[in-house]
């Protein structure tokens, strides 16, 4: 297991609702929990992953997410079982939509 912590600048989230949970912890998949944080222009992410040594890739994937979405003011917890960046990107978008009220 490896634990990684990141903090990205991101535009404030449009509307925060209740905490949102997306995905499952299973091989090649991950679980994402989004909650409200205290810094309106920051997105904090804590990852627990079974795959060691991919910190740089996580930083790139999450940095790209924080830059392309308004995710400021959130705290994101991730439990990962070797999900590929494609799955992570898709789940983050799903989780953020859920957090903002579920609408697709």
């Amino acid at each position: 297991m490896e634990t990684l912590n990141f903090c990205f600048d991101s535009a404030p989230v449009l509307k925060g609702a209740s905490p949102a949970l997306c995905g499952v912890v299973g091989s090649g998949n991950l679980e994402i929990l989004i909650k409200t944080g205290i810094e309106p222009a920051a997105c904090r992410v804590c990852i627990k992953t079974s795959a060691r040594g991919f910190g740089e890739t996580w930083q790139a994937v999450l940095g790209s997410f924080a830059a392309s979405h308004a995710a400021g003011g959130t705290v994101i917890a991730i439990n990962d079982m070797g999900a590929t960046p494609a799955v992570v990107t898709l789940r983050l978008a799903q989780a953020l939509a859920e957090y903002q009220g579920g609408g697709q």
Binding site: G28, A51, F54, T57, A60, V61, S64, G82, T84, P85, A86, V87, T89, L90, A93, Q94, A97, Q104
Partner: protein, 550 residues
């Protein structure tokens, strides 16, 4: 003037006669008792012969392969093997036991690691790795077999053969062997008084043997919908909207993986909602994929010609004879050589997956320590310069590639990959493993499956790159980097160049196609399990037990 040197002009026929005499002197007629097959093989095969062992990734002449491997290396040696696929342990045993030392083939999936080891130990000499049609071509040119060992469903007393739905490579092998002084030996699953139909006439076949058990058939093209991921659904949506719909692709071939299985399962749902029924995917060169059943049942598909059959699909195929090619007896007739020809000249598109792709778009499934070969992909995944007939898809692609005044069209060759494979292995790489493999094999060329200049589009979870519209190697490289996601190759992109390509429509993201990635859910799949496929088929599809979990 001296008279020309006297030479014998019928040495092949005489050699054949001597082999048949040796068999007759041992008391053999046309039907060989199963316990004497090795005596027959040792009587008719000579050291140094070129032997074709039938076996593809589906049907296998497994009993004859094991029997040949059990022959004495003192009697039979220095064989030169020609075969579509090196798949069974016995295929490699031939080389390890010293019966054979040279191999020309197409594909070696399951035995790739053992094969690589034999090459490194210099116990096997590889002539070349071919695509199927190319290997069949050489059977009629410079690799004609002296002896062919084939698999059939049934023989009658005269020696006529019924091949069943898995006709596959047999007609090509038998034709090349029987008409050039060769010997044809068939293992059969059963002897019948009357065959359902005659696929190979008796006078092309010298001997038949009733195998102790039916020949092995691998359910290679069965993909369980339960394993299709949301990322694959997303890529399938992009492919359907951004390529199938745009070019109006009606005639095509799909590769074997889950990526294209997802497309098949989105035809009755997503593609139908886009109004594409009757406009795309009407005619196929394709094995009978169980995942195509919902599209067939929904009326999307007019015709499917098959390379081989697929375990469990026979009853469904018989009941859908408007769609599949079937005999008067009702069972399917497949034919790999003809279906590969259809894939080459009659299809507007090939779409499939790969393990590695470089910055020129070259792709390979060879990885270090494994020699896997190509199968049919290089044939289907290439633009045939001999094509002359036009179609809307072919013309549109040609004009994109060569300009408005193009005098030829262009086949669509699409590579569809998630940017990372399992265990975070990047698909996009600076250099293919194929180059290192070339050195370790001592081969003339790296084993590249599809050449970059044949590739028209790349689909990944990040979007579609249209390489036809690229006007320089630099643009092409950035187009590939621009869909390579977070792989090192993708992260080394020039962001401005990539945005420029996006502005010009060379790179298109999901949102550029009007697709919300969050809509990519498994709910879009017409079938989400093998049981769903059985239901769609009205109970006609009988999946093998390993795919039944209910």
């Amino acid at each position: 003037m001296n008279a020309p040197l006297a030479r014998q002009w019928d040495s092949l026929r005489q050699s054949r006669g001597r082999r048949l005499e040796r068999a007759a002197s041992l008391g053999f007629g046309r039907e060989i008792p199963v316990d004497r097959i090795i005596d027959l093989l040792e009587a008719v095969i000579q050291p140094g012969d070129r032997v074709c062992l039938e076996g593809n990734n589906q049907k296998q002449a497994d009993f004859l392969a094991e029997s040949l491997a059990d022959c004495s290396p003192e009697r039979i040696n220095h064989l030169s093997m020609v075969q579509s696929v090196l798949a069974l342990p016995s295929h490699v045993d031939l080389f390890e036991r010293g019966l054979a030392n040279r191999l020309d083939f197409s594909f070696s999936g399951p035995q790739g690691a053992r094969l690589a080891k034999l090459v490194q130990e210099q116990r096997i000499e590889i002539g070349a790795i071919h695509t199927y049609l190319e290997l069949f071509g050489r059977y009629f040119m410079d690799l004609t077999p002296n002896v062919a060992l084939i698999a059939a469903q049934a023989a009658d007393a005269a020696g006529n053969l019924y091949l069943g739905p898995n006709t596959e490579d047999t007609p090509a092998i038998v034709e090349a062997t029987a008409f050039k002084g060769g010997i044809v030996i068939a293992q059969v699953n059963e002897r019948l008084d009357k065959l359902p139909r005659v696929d190979v006439p008796a006078d092309w076949v010298d001997f038949t043997v009733l195998a102790p058990k039916p020949n092995y058939i691998e359910p290679l093209f069965t993909r369980d919908p339960a394993q299709i991921t949301e990322v694959q659904v997303l890529m399938a949506m992009m492919a359907i909207k951004g390529i199938y719909a745009e070019y109006g692709v009606t005639r095509l071939n799909h590769g074997i993986g889950f990526d294209t299985a997802a497309i098949e399962l989105l035809l009755p749902t997503y593609a139908a909602d886009l109004g594409l029924k009757g406009k795309i995917c009407t005619h196929w060169a394709l094995n009978p994929h169980p995942t195509l059943i919902p599209a067939i049942e929904s009326g999307f598909v007019e015709s499917v010609h098959c390379f081989g059959s697929e375990v469990g699909m026979d009853a469904y195929i018989s009941a859908r004879s408007d769609v599949f090619f079937t005999g008067a007896d009702g069972s399917m007739r497949s034919n790999r050589a003809f279906s590969q020809t259809a894939g080459l000249y009659a299809c507007d598109m090939f779409i499939g997956s790969t393990l590695q792709m470089d910055l020129a778009g070259n792709s390979s499934t060879a990885t270090l320590g494994r020699i896997t070969g190509f199968g049919g992909a290089p044939n289907m995944g290439s633009d045939p310069h001999g094509r002359r007939h036009a179609s809307p898809a072919w013309l549109k692609a040609g004009r994109e590639a060569y300009g408005a005044n193009a005098i030829r069209g262009r086949k669509l060759v699409v590579q569809m990959v998630e940017t990372f494979r399992e265990h975070m292995a990047p698909v996009f790489v600076e250099e293919l493993d194929a180059w290192k493999l070339q050195k370790s094999m001592g081969a003339e060329l790296p084993p590249i499956m599809i050449y970059g200049d044949d590739v028209s589009h790349i689909v990944t979870e990040e979007g579609i790159a249209n390489l036809l519209l690229c006007r320089s190697p630099e643009e092409r490289e950035q187009a590939i980097r621009g869909v390579a996601g977070f792989t090192p190759v993708g992260r080394a992109r020039d962001p401005r160049a990539v945005e420029n390509l996006r502005d010009r429509g060379i790179i298109r993201r999901a949102e550029d196609l009007g697709i919300d990635p969050r809509q990519a859910t498994r709910d879009l799949l017409a079938a989400r399990s093998v049981k769903d496929l059985v239901r769609w088929s009205g109970g006609l599809y009988a999946p093998p037990s390993r795919f039944r979990n209910w």
